[in-house]
């Protein structure tokens, strides 16, 4: 995916800033953004939760596990952003009408550069199974006493 995007962007588009989500909702591998930046040879900033444009550079705030890191990056650059970045507004009628007038360029499959050989293969895909007891208790005082007794016997409560 990053290879294909890289070829299309490099051959057709001028850009200062490329924004990517942090990962797709199906695979969530979080690789396309950083790989695309490497392919284009531009800097990347990941996990962005805030950004400001300052003439020819971006000041971006990254959310890491233990702290926030503020970085400066000169354009052109690629950023991957987290959902915390903003709350998308609901488009109004005017926006919807305007949107219909924006140009849409369709690139046919035949126009695409040849797709590079796959780097990984999926050999199996299985539903996640959790095996649990699924014992149900009622909500009355007696049932709750039984529940606590069961938890106590299993060592889950002291």
């Amino acid at each position: 995916m990053a290879g294909l995007l890289g070829s299309v962007i490099a051959s057709r588009l001028e850009y200062d800033l490329i924004l990517c989500g942090d990962g797709s909702s199906d695979r969530y591998s979080q690789q396309v953004g950083p790989r695309l930046a490497e392919k284009l040879g531009i800097p990347v900033v990941t996990a962005v939760v805030g950004l400001e444009l300052e003439s020819d550079r971006i000041i971006a705030e990254r959310k890491l596990e233990t702290n926030l890191e503020v970085v400066a990056v000169k354009l052109p650059a690629l950023l991957t952003v987290l959902p915390d970045l903003n709350t998308p507004r609901i488009p109004g009628l005017r926006d919807t009408l305007d949107a219909a007038k924006k140009p849409v360029v369709t690139i046919a499959a035949a126009e695409l550069p040849p797709v590079a050989a796959a780097l990984i293969e999926t050999v199996a895909l299985q539903g996640l199974v959790l095996e649990r007891n699924c014992v149900q208790f009622g909500a009355d005082a007696n049932a709750i006493r039984q529940l606590v007794e069961t938890l106590r016997k299993s060592g889950a409560v002291g």
Binding site: P34, C134, L151
Partner: protein, 318 residues
């Protein structure tokens, strides 16, 4: 001899990655190299976790982000030709791994949760996809094979004493196009959800902050840490994000997980799959949490919790 590389941002995670590398190395007949950021620990710490060799990175000047090590790693990988590169899955780790894979034109498995080696088939790695609904098994078709390893996915064994090995100093990374201008602390993190033996988790079924107080009372009686599902953080704003359990939050493995008003969306359930016992209280008997719970109570938590608290107090005093 083929080699395995291990890198992680924190010493805690690096130990886990090294132990995984060590166990795979024994099966694959591969040596283990720790890529060590100098400030983390002395090289001997890595040898004690099974490393045969340490490639040491100097501490970075404050304006350099950790990600600046990517070109150094790529250069060394081209000389070393490792068979497998394992990188601890943190925000930085995932970026570093993806960029390194890009530079080496290598396939990479993100957030690998299980790995199997077979002489004929090579490595097969499992990862979770579709928001936790499925396990994808993947093979890398290129070399090095690469994977990011999430925290606590693989066990750490106690270190062996007295091991030693070769130490090689890597060149200092050069300044790239990204410069750090400030580092800010995140909101203070209290409690320790990841180490908790008992977790009381609240979900969207709670309606008021008084309900939350009731859940806290239960947690106090159980000596439990409080946690929550994502809507409680994002919609109710009652609890901080680091207490959120699930695919995009914490993955916990307590002896007892007790869900209060938790419906059991799969994105949340992924975060509790390693709990010893899952217990759920929900008024909706159709709630999916009951399908993944060991013990379920169908009822209104406002009635159930006071009874449960009372019963636990009595059981404790008996």
């Amino acid at each position: 001899m083929a080699g395995i590389w291990a890198w992680a941002e924190t010493w805690e995670l690096l130990q886990e990655v090294l132990r995984l590398g060590k166990s795979l190395g024994e099966q694959m007949g591969a040596s283990l190299t720790a890529i060590l950021s100098e400030q983390l620990v002395a090289a001997e710490g890595c040898f004690a976790q099974g490393a045969d060799r340490v490639l040491r990175l100097p501490a970075l000047p404050p304006e350099l982000p950790m990600e600046a090590i990517v070109p150094v790693l790529a250069g060394q990988a081209q000389q070393d030709c490792p068979e497998l590169v394992l990188i601890g899955s943190t925000q930085r780790g995932r970026e570093i791994a993806a960029r390194l894979a890009g530079q080496l034109q290598a396939g990479m498995v993100s957030d690998c949760i299980a790995v199997r080696f077979d002489r004929a088939q090579g490595l097969e790695m499992d990862r979770v996809m579709y928001g936790g609904r499925a396990v994808q098994t993947v093979r890398c078709l290129t070399r090095p094979q690469m994977a990011t390893i999430p925290a606590r996915a693989f066990p750490v064994s106690p270190p062996a004493a007295g091991s030693s090995g070769e130490i090689v100093d890597l060149p200092a990374p050069e300044a790239g196009k990204v410069a750090v201008v400030a580092r800010k602390p995140k909101a203070a993190i209290s409690g320790n959800l990841l180490e908790a033996r008992t977790v009381v988790c609240v979900g969207r079924g709670l309606e008021t902050e008084a309900d939350l107080a009731l859940a806290r009372e239960l947690a106090a009686v159980l000596g439990a840490e409080i946690a929550c599902t994502r809507p409680v953080v994002e919609e109710y704003h009652w609890l901080p994000e680091h207490l959120c359990i699930g695919l995009s939050g914490q993955q916990v493995n307590p002896n007892l997980y007790l869900g209060v008003g938790v419906s059991g969306q799969v994105q949340h359930v992924v975060g509790i799959k390693d709990a010893e016992i899952i217990c759920a209280i929900n008024r909706d008997e159709q709630a999916p949490i009951f399908k993944v719970a060991d013990y379920g109570v169908v009822g209104d938590f406002r009635e159930v919790l006071p009874r449960l608290i009372e019963e636990l107090k009595q059981a404790g005093s008996r």
